[in-house]
């Protein structure tokens, strides 16, 4: 816990002091060193300052200073000793043991530019399988993992990628806030070896805030292959930060990285020293006065950053820093000084302050690299260039993109059919086993018609989901997804959104929830809102079983193409909706398109299979969780009430009189214009929590007790499949498909929209999607009737 959290009269032992050099030194000189006991004597009336007793004398600290001191109470020490299975009993020894254990706990913040391989590094370090991809902005939230190494517990937080630490984009604010709130012991700055100049810009910003830092020079193999020469040790000595070459995907250099990280933490690393980035005589001259004034009143500043950083950010008019300092007594004076300095710098240099500072930082990087880096001869016409010339060609780009999409859905259906057959047979065997092995009764009916039919009918599509995710993973990891966004940029602009919006939309084919979250990388607010609102039109993998069920029953001969057209139709509806929103709701223009085209990389089998495995494990887990529960509830509602169970198993449940039948008959008029029966109506309603439930509901409602096992070449048990075919005409099937494609997203997506935007948008999305789905399904029904 932090010292500031202790109450009056409580005691604790100092574990460590956080914060930057000068502040840390001063606090430690006062006696706040590891192992010293500190007692709270008095909280001032306004809760600031607080009086403490340490090393035999009384001292008062401001609350924000006390927040930077980590302490441990006896209760915490006892808990740690218990979890460490210590055999020590004596009170003192418990504290010593707990202190040693807490000292060996290192918190690490993993930062770096977007697409620098932070998540790959995180996965390798922590043995995790968080999603990675070859495009910017894969990580939109902090992920935490832990590893044990040489007696240390290292807790790593993977942070979203950022180019700088200003308050320009949400990720920048997020990363800086994380550093302020969590004060990691070490920052691991991931730098792409093949793109040093741009990646080191963030390093200069990190140097300004003076954390303990190690640079992980990732993708070092690419630098070696390019023929470039880089003396990373020399650059490390120059900037006072150890640099370790690593290849995150293969694990090369990871041990050295951890060793150096521990050495920095233990203050044993030789190359560590604090430097200032020089901003040139004009800026430095103006910065000096403000910096000195802030130094004199440093107790008014938070201890997270040095005064020089605060001075720089005030001159830059950084909103977050202004709000952080606004309560300081000298804030007005500092603001005036900063404004004066800003005006004088801009007049003297003839350019705005942001340009001047960026220029100086790049000048520093360029100077440092001149002495340590010899670039390889720039090769034009590399494989990446040749491939780009084809896939981003202004004429061929689109046909290639659509051909790839068609191929993806074709394979999803055709290749998936074989393993699907085997699972189907397994489920049929299990059905027969339970049916024959149990005495007749409601439990047997629940297991066969509810659990096995309901869960089995969804589980059978697992191979198709696997193939779909395999393709999505290949698209993401190879770098093609960023190219697809590039070629779609013009189309997206016509829609009224950002080119970057295309990536969340494609991710939506997998699952709409991460796709909605991925919209955080879109800087322009209106583009972000529009993209979030149209993401649910992208058919997620949960909707695939519905399509497979209906397409497999009605359009089996050209199933791949039918699937492709469905996905394309979803995209078309997204385009139309986005255009309407831009036209009537957000008239201002979107920000210019900035999208990195990172080089193509051959996706590694390990990463691709891990991605596929994670997604499939989630799907199977969902079967054992939500789908199982829903199948049981749907079965119960369709089985009861029964007049009296008389053990006559030949009696079929009277579905129409059941609770589900009554609900269906109430809702039936909604879909009556499309000739849909109540079973289909109920199935669509049951899909609100998760779309797969539509399939399990259809199977439960259309199944009858005593059904035979499904035949290998059908998606559903024969009678259920036949009954669906008999109860729906082709126009009704088309309307059912269109409605399933467009109606309100699952609860998880609605909640994601609510948390990313607000509840009005979430409710608006649900209502708009459902209304649009009904209208378009009705049009589809009548058009198909006309055509047939």
């Amino acid at each position: 816990m932090r010292l500031s959290e202790l109450k009056t009269g409580e005691s604790a032992t100092v574990v460590k002091v956080l914060g930057y050099g000068g502040f840390r030194r001063r606090i430690m000189e006062m006696g706040f060193v590891r192992g010293q006991e500190v007692t709270v004597l008095l909280d001032a009336p306004l809760k600031d300052p607080i009086e403490y007793h340490i090393m035999g004398y009384d001292i008062s600290l401001r609350r924000k200073e006390a927040e930077m001191i980590v302490v441990m109470t006896r209760e915490e020490a006892a808990k740690i000793s218990e979890t460490e299975a210590s055999t020590l009993i004596d009170g003192e020894d418990i504290m010593v043991e707990a202190l040693r254990s807490s000292h060996n706990h290192i918190t690490v913040g993993l930062v770096g530019n977007p697409n620098a391989g932070k998540t790959s590094l995180f996965n390798t370090l922590c043995g995790r399988s968080e999603h990675v991809g070859n495009y910017s902005g894969v990580t939109v939230d902090a992920k935490r993992g832990e590893l044990r190494y040489k007696g240390y517990t290292i807790e790593i937080t993977d942070l979203p990628g950022t180019y700088a630490l200003s308050a320009y984009s949400p990720e920048e604010v997020y990363v800086r806030r994380h550093i302020i709130d969590h004060t990691p012991d070490i920052i691991v700055n991931t730098v792409v070896a093949s793109n040093l100049e741009r990646n080191l810009y963030l390093t200069t910003e990190l140097i300004d805030i003076s954390p303990k830092m190690v640079i992980a020079l990732n993708m070092y193999d690419e630098l070696e292959r390019s023929g470039a020469k880089f003396d990373h040790e020399a650059l490390g000595r120059m900037i006072g930060v150890p640099i370790v070459p690593v290849v995150a995907t293969s694990g090369r250099g990871i041990e050295e990285l951890l060793d150096r990280l521990i050495a920095v933490y233990e203050n044993r690393e030789q190359s560590v020293r604090h430097i200032h980035i020089g901003y040139g005589s004009i800026i430095e001259e103006q910065l000096k006065d403000l910096n000195n004034d802030m130094r004199q009143h440093r107790n008014e500043l938070t201890a997270h950053f040095p005064p020089r950083y605060f001075a720089l950010k005030l001159i830059e008019r950084d909103k977050e820093i202004i709000s952080l300092l606004s309560s300081a007594p000298h804030f007005e004076r500092w603001s005036a000084m900063a404004e004066r300095a800003r005006t004088q710098i801009e007049q003297a240099l003839g350019e705005d302050i942001e340009t001047a500072l960026a220029g100086q930082k790049y000048g520093f990087i360029s100077g440092a690299l001149k002495e340590t880096y010899v670039a390889a001869e720039y090769k034009r016409n590399t494989f990446s260039d040749k491939l780009d010339a084809i896939v981003t060609h202004r004429i061929w780009g689109f046909p290639i993109f659509f051909a790839l999409m068609w191929f993806m859905f074709y394979c999803t259906f055709t290749l998936g059919a074989y393993p699907q057959e085997w699972i189907d047979m397994g489920i049929g065997w299990l059905y027969d086993l339970v049916q024959g092995g149990m005495s007749p009764g409601p439990l047997r009916d629940m297991l066969t018609d509810g659990v096995i039919s309901g869960v089995g009918s969804v589980l059978v599509f697992l191979p198709n989901i696997m193939i779909l995710y395999l393709f999505i993973s290949l698209l993401e990891d190879s770098g093609y997804l960023a190219r697809a966004a590039f070629i779609m940029d013009k189309v997206m602009h016509h829609m009224g959104v950002h080119g970057k919006s295309f990536i969340p939309m494609i991710m939506g084919f997998g699952c709409n929830v991460p796709a909605v979250m991925a919209c955080r990388t879109i800087e322009c607010t209106t583009s972000r809102i529009i993209t979030i609102m149209v993401v649910p039109f992208m058919s997620c993998s949960a909707r695939l079983p519905i399509y497979m069920m209906i397409v497999g029953t009605f359009f089996k001969d050209y199933a791949g193409t039918a699937l492709f057209l469905l996905y394309l139709f979803g995209m078309l509806m997204a385009v139309v909706s986005a255009r309407l929103m831009r036209r009537f709701m957000f008239r201002e223009q979107e920000a210019p398109f900035v999208m990195e085209l990172s080089p193509y990389r051959v996706p590694t089998a390990k990463a691709t299979l891990r991605h596929m495995w994670t997604k499939c494990a989630q799907y199977v887990k969902k079967m054992g969780g939500l789908i199982l529960i829903a199948s049981i509830i749907i079965w119960l509602l369709s089985y009861y009430p029964r007049p009296k169970y008389d053990n006559d198993m030949a009696e079929a449940p009277n579905y129409e009189l059941s609770y589900m039948g009554q609900i269906g008959q109430v809702c039936e008029p909604i879909f009556a214009p499309m000739d849909m029966e109540w079973q289909a109506t109920v199935a669509l309603i049951s899909g609100i929590p998760a779309k797969e439930i539509v399939v399990s509901t259809m199977n439960v409602l259309y199944a009858q007790p005593g059904d035979q096992a499904p035949e290998s070449d059908d998606e559903l048990s024969p009678s259920a499949s036949e009954r669906i075919a008999n109860s729906m005409s082709i126009p009704t099937a088309v309307a059912f498909l269109i409605f399933s494609l467009l109606y309100l997203p699952c609860i998880a997506t609605i909640i994601s929209i609510g948390s990313e935007l607000n509840w009005r948008w979430a409710v608006g999305s649900a209502l708009y999607n459902t209304a649009l789905a009904w209208i378009v399904a009705w049009i589809g029904f009548h058009l198909t009737q006309l055509i047939l």
Binding site: R144, I629, I751
Partner: protein, 47 residues
């Protein structure tokens, strides 16, 4: 009421409890994985 019917009622009640628990986590954590695969820093994950 025979034993199969009693078992069905118990399973049904457990299913309803599971739904309520799942929804609660979904709304509180705002994450579709409702704790199973989530790695967010969140107090509910421990529960």
């Amino acid at each position: 009421m025979n034993w199969q019917e009693i078992a069905v009622y118990i399973i049904g009640a457990l299913a309803v409890v599971a739904v309520v628990r799942k929804l609660w986590r979904l709304f509180v954590c705002r994450d579709s994985s409702a704790c199973s695969d989530c790695s967010k820093e969140c107090p509910h994950r421990k529960s």
